[in-house]
Amino acid sequence: MTSIPESVAFFKSEKWRKLRSHYLTMNFATGIGWKIVRLVILFGLCYLILYPFFIKIINAFKGPADFYDPTVRFVPKTFTTNNILTVLTDTGFLNALKNTAFVSITTAVLQTVVSSLIGYGFARFKFKLNGLLFSMVILSLVVPPSTIIIPLYLRFRSFLGIFELLGTPFPLFILSVTGFGIKNALYIYMFRQFFRNSPKELEEAAYIDGCGTFKTYSKIMLPSATSVFITVLMLSLAWQWTDMIYSSMFLLNWDYLARFLQTVTFSTDAMVGSNMLSIATVAAVLPIALVYIFFQRHLIQSISSSGLVG
């Protein structure tokens, strides 16, 4: 009797059967295949988005000589942090950043809260003029800001005939509170669609338990809208942060980001200017990206945020 070769023995062993039933299945193959495809797609798209950003970050560390040296493409020969320090210690830039942060955070919070209220009103209450008024929301999304900016300017020059509001952030705050900030109609629309699509049973239960409409909204409906709420908050923050039309009209003598970047663009000599500009752009974008990293953790499906069970 010849003994069974070792390799054959392995294929007859219990261990192999276990491995086979686990890994040599269609399910596993498609699972791995999908993971690889997903990785490739996401990596490619991320590369596509990050490439210009990446170039900017590299440029930030280049010395002046590197810009005229054709052999330098990615790794700078004369590594320097001077450019970055120049921008980050520039009082104009820091001041602009501070002012922009103040205005953007305030308007973003106001816009998000007010839009959720308005969106809920349009979604859940069948009052008479609902359709007509909601078409006004869509209209305000379509009308480009530059069309109504001159009348708005005149309006805020003497608001309600008394207040002189130009040169203060109050025009922006007033527009936000009334739901007419930058692309505010989109937020109202998002909230309205979300609330229309959420089940009615929760609200009915709340009404039966004696909640008023406002309490139902704040205690029941708003907590269930976390993902929309965060998305709207991020969008409004980002758009106010990079806004130039409204800011340049209303914040007359203020230092803010858009104005700072514009002056840098036109001021210094071309090469250094573009270097400073790329640093300033990265420094301007990074805070919002960091805030998003923090907030996106909450963008997950959870029973607590989805409200109704069953």
Partner: protein
């Protein structure tokens, strides 16, 4: 006496839906801030811009003077201004393309980002960046800095720009057009697909907001619906078409509306820049207002058509 009698006669009819009516009337409280903004800020501003569109506007020392010219500005926009017509036409064509590619792509990307995998937070943040990079001052500064680099350095900029602004490399890897035509695909479909691939960078940049909106919609689906579907033996395919897709149709509508508006105002087509240049450089505020009225009336017609087609296919739970 008479009035009292009439009130008494009406009473039973009134109480019928009284509770519901009173509840519905509270809706006005919720949209009160919007009503204030609408009547105090937005509509007057719109009214003024309509008045500008119907007149010649002269700005004198912070004061705006109008002298009415009727519909002359509108007639001029169509008869004399040849540039505007071309812009609008190219924008309409571009919009149709953008609408299809952006909505499909952003839906696909959002489903990817909604799955669980290592580094999801990083990937999501990267996909959020286009919202920032393609908006307002960042986009306009970016454009200028690319121009400056092109003019001032010999650093192989031409290739840098082309690789930064188109996907680049697709043509080198394989000739997509040839492959598609070798399988006898329709010429129009072929050109649609190739231009979509060539425009990958633009499409990714345009869909930042839509991806976010879809992502929030996907997350607001109640997981227990999937659970019960799984217990009933639904496959992933069925889960997608019977649960996920119907549940996010309201947000598809939002995305379609937003994409249409965003695409029309895209600097790529230059309509808004053209209107601004008429208003502020050429100092023809009246004419520019007429142009922007034409512009957004066209957008509204488009939105109406698209929403009319989609509206019946949207499912709401209410």
């Amino acid at each position: 006496m008479n009035i009292l009698n009439r009130e008494a006669a009406m009473k039973p009819r009134k109480t019928k839906h009284n509770l519901l009516k009173r509840k519905n009337r509270e809706g006005y409280l919720f949209i009160l801030p919007f009503l204030f903004g609408l009547f105090v800020i937005f509509l007057p501003a719109l009214f003024y811009s309509a008045a500008y569109a119907l007149s010649t506007v002269t700005v004198k020392l912070d004061d705006v003077q109008l002298s009415g010219v009727g519909f002359q500005n509108f007639i001029d926009a169509f008869r004399k201004d040849t540039g505007f017509r071309v812009l609008i036409l190219s924008a309409v064509q571009g919009m149709a393309f953008d609408l299809i590619t952006v909505v499909i792509f952003s839906f696909f990307a959002a489903t990817l980002l909604n799955q669980k995998f290592l580094g999801r937070g990083v990937a999501r943040t990267v996909f959020f960046l286009p919202v920032l990079l393609s908006s307002g001052i960042i986009a306009s500064v970016d454009m200028k800095s690319v121009m400056m680099e092109a003019f001032s350095s010999s650093n192989n900029t031409a290739s840098t720009i082309s690789s930064a602004f188109t996907a680049g490399g697709f043509n080198v890897l394989f000739d997509l057009k040839e492959i598609l035509s070798s399988v006898n695909l329709n010429q129009q479909i072929t050109s649609f697909i190739t231009s979509a691939v060539d425009n990958t960078y633009n499409i990714v940049n345009l869909s930042g907001v839509q991806i976010l909106i879809f992502l929030s919609a996907l997350q607001s689906i109640n997981p227990s619906i999937f659970e019960s579907a799984r217990v009933e033996g639904a496959t992933k395919w069925e889960e997608f078409w019977k649960i996920t897709f119907p549940m996010i149709t309201p947000m598809i509508l939002v995305n379609v509306v937003y994409t249409v508006v965003d695409s029309f105002s895209n600097p790529k087509y230059g309509i808004l820049d053209y209107i601004d240049s008429q208003a502020f450089s050429s100092n023809q505020i009246g004419f520019a207002s007429a142009l922007s009225w034409i512009y957004f009336l066209i957008v509204i017609v488009f939105l109406g058509a698209v929403c009319g087609i989609l509206a019946k296919r949207i499912t709401y739970l209410d």
